[in-house]
């Protein structure tokens, strides 16, 4: 499916900035609006855009479905694992106080890990859902819309 030239060039140009913005939202979530959930969505939207303009199979060479499955589960496990880690360090479930030397730096570390888990899980699930739809789509012609 060859889409229009402008769209393809724009999609290529925007791909990296979108990913960069996703990372900004991810790590700036402590200081301003944003966090793992939004960052995951923005991260996924870069891949969705790529999938819309080009096709899903070319993106699959870089990010395989297997990786998405592992990422989605891994993100949830990272979140839950942080909770269990805080039990191992002697606190309550998801009580990050004891993860580091001081309670606040423990909280920072805990929030960082947890938000990373959210971001990874959300991004992988969104791309996974998009691909599940995209795989079912028959070949679409421009005038079908």
């Amino acid at each position: 499916m060859q889409h229009r030239l402008v769209l393809r060039i724009l999609a290529k140009l925007l791909f990296a900035p979108i990913l960069l913005f996703a990372f900004y939202v991810q790590f700036h979530g402590d200081f301003g609006p944003g966090g793992g959930f939004q960052a995951g969505l923005i991260f996924a939207s870069a891949f969705v855009l790529h999938g819309l303009i080009f096709d899903v199979s070319s993106a699959r060479r870089f990010v395989s479905d297997r990786l998405l499955q592992v990422g989605a589960a891994g993100g949830v496990l990272l979140y839950a694992g942080t909770g269990f880690a805080s039990i191992l360090f002697g606190g309550n479930f998801l009580d990050y106080d004891l993860l580091s030397e001081t309670p606040t730096s423990g909280q920072h570390l805990g929030i960082l890990l947890v938000e990373a888990g959210v971001g990874i899980a959300v991004a992988c699930v969104m791309v996974m859902v998009f691909r599940a739809f995209a795989d079912r789509l028959p070949h679409l012609r421009e005038r079908d819309w």
């Binding site: 939207s45 947890v114 859902v129």
Partner: protein, 175 residues
Amino acid sequence: MLFAFLIATALGIAYLRHLFAVVMLAGMFSLLSALLLLSMDAADVAFTEAAVGAGIATILMLSAMALTERQEKPSNRSMLERLPALAVAGAFGALLIYAMLDAPPFGDPFAPAQTHVAPYYIEQTAREIDVPNLVTAILASYRGFDTLGEVVVIFTAGIGVALLLGGFVARDRSK
């Protein structure tokens, strides 16, 4: 002003039969709600609404539409048959407005939502969590267990869609 646009968009969604336009209007609706939330200083919620409602949800609706029909079937019910639906919708709307009359005014510092645990979070976040964004502190730390549940919900939903649409099964067979 934003509300007027919101209502106009909602009416457009109700009247249009062309589903592509409806999906686009639904995206617009989300974007307008995000602006509305932003004007009430709920930046985090607005951000999420814009990313989910206007971004991903629109794409998924378009994908779902591409799998089904492009045009909504015109209803052939008579006016009389539609009356119960109108009555139910009208009664529910009236009920919501009646409930709204009891709600505290926007920004009321003595509203129940502001006097329960919110003061503790506002006062203690700087000392206990030391993170400038209160919303992050509450979501990731104080209410961490809830957020874990949300992530599990998203994960489950993703697995469900992937299994239902059968993308993974089909590909495994072709290998």
